[in-house]
């Protein structure tokens, strides 16, 4: 049964405390990993040298990188446990699975951006872009952890895999890291905080809440499931 129709400014809980904590740990670990990783990746450039000196040299950089790699691994275990073994986590994971409707909605969104459609398409709990970011960051982090472990324990790894495997791992780790950086620190930050309607900041990452008006505009299918077809009180297109 649909809940009572909310006012457009009423705050609705979207992310739980545990989900926000996972996001904060991911943000912290990936930021440090990106800074310490890029220092090695671009050690021959001026920015690489500046980062290396700020991080206390090559040895200290490696230690910091490994400490936060462990943080990322623990987070991966925490998140997998949450997503697979809690009711709320499973529900979120199901909502994040790509469906045929996502491709349709994305095409409609592009048509809207190109001026060939008047209305925004209707999205469910997660938009196709949010799903892309989640799976990109999640699978990308798993690739980084797997390749990072080979590089960390390179002496042991070299005893069982040929050198070319090690070379590939090295390239994949470096460039996948760059891709992850682009996905999260450029695209994700732009879409969540800097895009029209959200600039200068979207507070959902802090409070876990969005207004009923935002829910109606950006996740209309989810809004309808919760409150029915009528828009929030006071809402104007």
């Amino acid at each position: 049964m649909a809940r009572q129709r909310p006012h457009k400014d009423e705050l609705l809980q979207r992310f739980t405390l545990q989900e926000r904590l996972q996001h904060w740990v991911l943000l912290l670990s990936l930021t440090v990993l990106a800074l310490t990783g890029f220092a090695l990746f671009a050690h021959g450039t001026w920015i690489g040298r500046v980062l290396l000196s700020l991080e206390g040299g090559m040895a200290a950089r490696g230690t910091i990188h490994r400490i936060f790699a462990v943080v990322l691994m623990l987070l991966a275990i925490w998140h997998l446990g949450y997503a697979l073994f809690s009711a709320r986590g499973r529900e979120q994971l199901r909502a994040l699975v790509f469906r045929r409707e996502d491709a349709v909605a994305f095409r409609q969104l592009l048509a809207y951006y190109l001026g060939k459609r008047r209305e925004l398409p209707e999205f469910g709990r997660f938009t196709p872009m949010q799903k892309l970011q989640y799976w990109g960051a999640g699978l990308g982090s798993l690739v980084m952890i797997a390749t990072g472990l080979v590089l960390w324990f390179h002496t042991k790894a070299m005893a069982v895999v040929p050198k070319w495997f090690f070379d590939i791992t090295n390239i994949v780790h470096g460039y996948e890291g760059l891709l992850l950086f682009g996905l999260l620190f450029v695209w994700h930050v732009y879409i969540v905080h800097l895009s029209p309607g959200h600039l200068p900041i979207n507070r959902a990452f802090w409070s876990g809440k969005i207004t009923a008006g935002e829910l109606y505009r950006e996740h209309r299918l989810e809004y309808r499931e919760l409150f029915g077809d009528l828009p929030p009180e006071g809402y104007e297109e």
């Binding site: 951006y113 999205f123 695209w187 029209p196 309607g197 979207n202």
Partner: protein
């Protein structure tokens, strides 16, 4: 696909034996750079389209909203 992969792996193995022969690591690095360049270009194109739509909408009714991603 499998034959192509086997060929690539053979190239890697050959480069180990004679590093001056082909440079598959360099090729892989180039492919990675092209791939990342393409991804960045897509991101920039998305931002451009969204900003363009928002600008047109602002001109139309004074509001600019886009779906959060």
């Amino acid at each position: 696909m499998t034959a192509g992969l086997s060929h690539l792996l053979a190239l890697f193995a050959a480069s180990e034996a004679a590093p001056e022969f082909p440079r598959p690591v360099g090729v892989l690095r180039l492919v990675a750079r092209i791939g990342i360049g393409a991804m960045l270009a897509l991101m920039v194109a998305y931002v451009f389209l969204e900003q363009l739509a928002a600008w047109k909408r602002r001109r139309g009714n004074g509001k600019a909203t886009t779906p959060q991603g």
